[in-house]
Assembly symmetry: C2
Homo-oligomer: 436 residues x 2
Amino acid sequence: MTDVLRVGVAGLGTVGASVVRLLQRQAEALTARTGRRIFVAAVSARDAAKERGVDLSGAAFVDDPAALAASSDIDLFVELVGGAEGAALASVESALRSGKSVVTANKALLAAHGATLAALAEEKHVALAFEASVAGGIPIVKTLREGLAGNSIERVYGVLNGTCNYILSRMELEQLSFDQCLKEAQRLGYAEADPTFDIGGFDTAHKLSILTSLAFGTRIAPEAVDVEGIERVTLADIDAAAELGFRIKLLGVAQRTAQGIEQRVHPTMVRKTTAIAQVMGVTNAVTIDADAVHELTLVGPGAGGDATASAVVADIADIAKGIRSAPFGLPSASLRKLERTPVQRHEGGYYIRLSVPDVPGAFAAIATRMAERRISLESIMQHGRGGVSRRTGEGPVGVILITHATTEQLVREALDAIYADGTIAEQAQVIRIERE
Amino acid sequence: MTDVLRVGVAGLGTVGASVVRLLQRQAEALTARTGRRIFVAAVSARDAAKERGVDLSGAAFVDDPAALAASSDIDLFVELVGGAEGAALASVESALRSGKSVVTANKALLAAHGATLAALAEEKHVALAFEASVAGGIPIVKTLREGLAGNSIERVYGVLNGTCNYILSRMELEQLSFDQCLKEAQRLGYAEADPTFDIGGFDTAHKLSILTSLAFGTRIAPEAVDVEGIERVTLADIDAAAELGFRIKLLGVAQRTAQGIEQRVHPTMVRKTTAIAQVMGVTNAVTIDADAVHELTLVGPGAGGDATASAVVADIADIAKGIRSAPFGLPSASLRKLERTPVQRHEGGYYIRLSVPDVPGAFAAIATRMAERRISLESIMQHGRGGVSRRTGEGPVGVILITHATTEQLVREALDAIYADGTIAEQAQVIRIERE
């Protein structure tokens, strides 16, 4: 190992500029920690002239990220270009092929090509590090890959998307509708103009698929995640949840089951007393259930330039010290293939909100359909007329059922039977309950 | 690096037996992760014959821990003997001198000899790892040493002693006295027969001094911790705190201030909405404030055989992979000396509970003494007669003052003046408020 480490940074957006700034600000401390002088030798960005509030005077400018990645003027390549294909993929491949370690914050790239890129990194005996790709500044990748090496992990779940958590928190605290909160999130820059990727759960699914691979030693499989977004969560659900001692969070959950590893992203009822339920606003949190450590929760900033850059710089420091773990913990050849677990087999409790016509026998008919499938009820709550307001006194009655553990298949069958009976007009709202 | 790693374990109590069990149970996964076969080649314990529920058939038994540590039959030494001196110190020194890496859970040893042992480990180019010494299964040492390498840390604080947190939680939830809860903790095995080390704050101080060194690059200095235990916390304080939106926790706090690094352990008012306030029972939690990552909180089991063993095994796996960080992050020669910061200079808000005689002018006299020192009050609460019960209608009135940020010196001066005035008979209860 030489006494210098020349870093090339491709992509100088918020995170890229923060990485350059942190490396400069912490230069002395990083040298003391790693024994090497770490500095940004070259950068690549779309616009060379743009003012970014960082000193780039010592860094060469290279137009093409892939050319920077292959350059012999750098020892380590930081990919912050973004996107699953194109320049991001080309430059990361180029860096690994030329025998350089890579640090990336790119969850989409990892979700699409993580297994191939990991194999390439191992073949070249270099690092592929991606702490920043999941939950921003929270060191969850390191924790799963190194900190829990003595554990068999049962479940990993978390709040992995700040936009969704901001919207759900605000709906509850300010008693606003989903649409109002989404607009507010867009105004504050917490949500994109096209928010589908966040609120549809796809961003969470990408991040979850990375955690799953690390936790269970499986090949990354984003296509095997069952994804449901928060678009259908109403204020009525949030208020009913609160009354019943729950809070609704968009969770990513990966869990070992008798059927295999279950990966799912969906609005979830969590007990208010849990650590995950306390996580409000744009904050992220991840909880790990494992045989030796039992339960471990990490809470911190899931996004933001400096928080994400903190994770990038930690990866750079590890690489500078010569740490070379297999990217996903195990050698990529020994990662097991992960098959999609049918969500119908999911076992757990359910929150079911139904609009029941206020006629004799309606509720009995519903209860019978549940009982026929041996679905037992933990609680039943009549939630005012219209499902939202107790004031109108009109329309159907909102009834909320909390079931004991059952299967998704039985819940769907019971609801299909209830629809066929014609007992209720509207589609039921169904939200899974995550056990502690 | 050879393809095997022969581990010697000294001390086969709860943690030691769990370490042996985890290494056996996770043998295959550890080999996949580290590329080496890790096995327990030899053990040392007081009683060779004792049944521990673990298979020791493949391990040699060595009477003397120091002889085991020096033995050429092992590559790595795990010290779980306990105690700051004696066999623990002798065996760790012996292992390091013979060029072996050491893993220990011994906070007392590190507090007393951490700097010297770290220097010896660096001289011999071996690891001295101690994840298990602070907060059990929570990977806080790794997070501070590696995960936040790009940050300048401002403050690290946490609930580091499960016994104290159990007692304080139970006092609040069950409305019991300190003595009742201590007895219950002893009955359940959460507290020792002589509980002084835990409830006096000394255990927290040892752990805090390790975190301080890692966070601030200073030489470990347990003697520079200002320590106060929970013995004087009453149910009246806990209830008043709850009414004012606070919870009382025994915190260890290390903080960068203009005067230097402040290290203190004391009962602390924390806002109920903070992550730390949610931590109930024997659970531990650590929060880090840093410039890039802002706020990061880790919550998990602070004790227990398997949780502590999880941390020991993670250290073993890192060493097996060839990871050799300086024990305290920076080379020990560059750790700065830490001077004790006089607690009088501490700046923050204060909770002050006074028994004020129910006579005209008494409160005015107190308020004047505060005002003379420019201590401004955030809130004033009359907390019933006798300071505990509103029912008796007799005796002095319990008055609770919450101050805005001031200094400990001014608070002490104001109270001395109030005592000198003869306004109040009893010593005031003073509890520091920790800002978010």
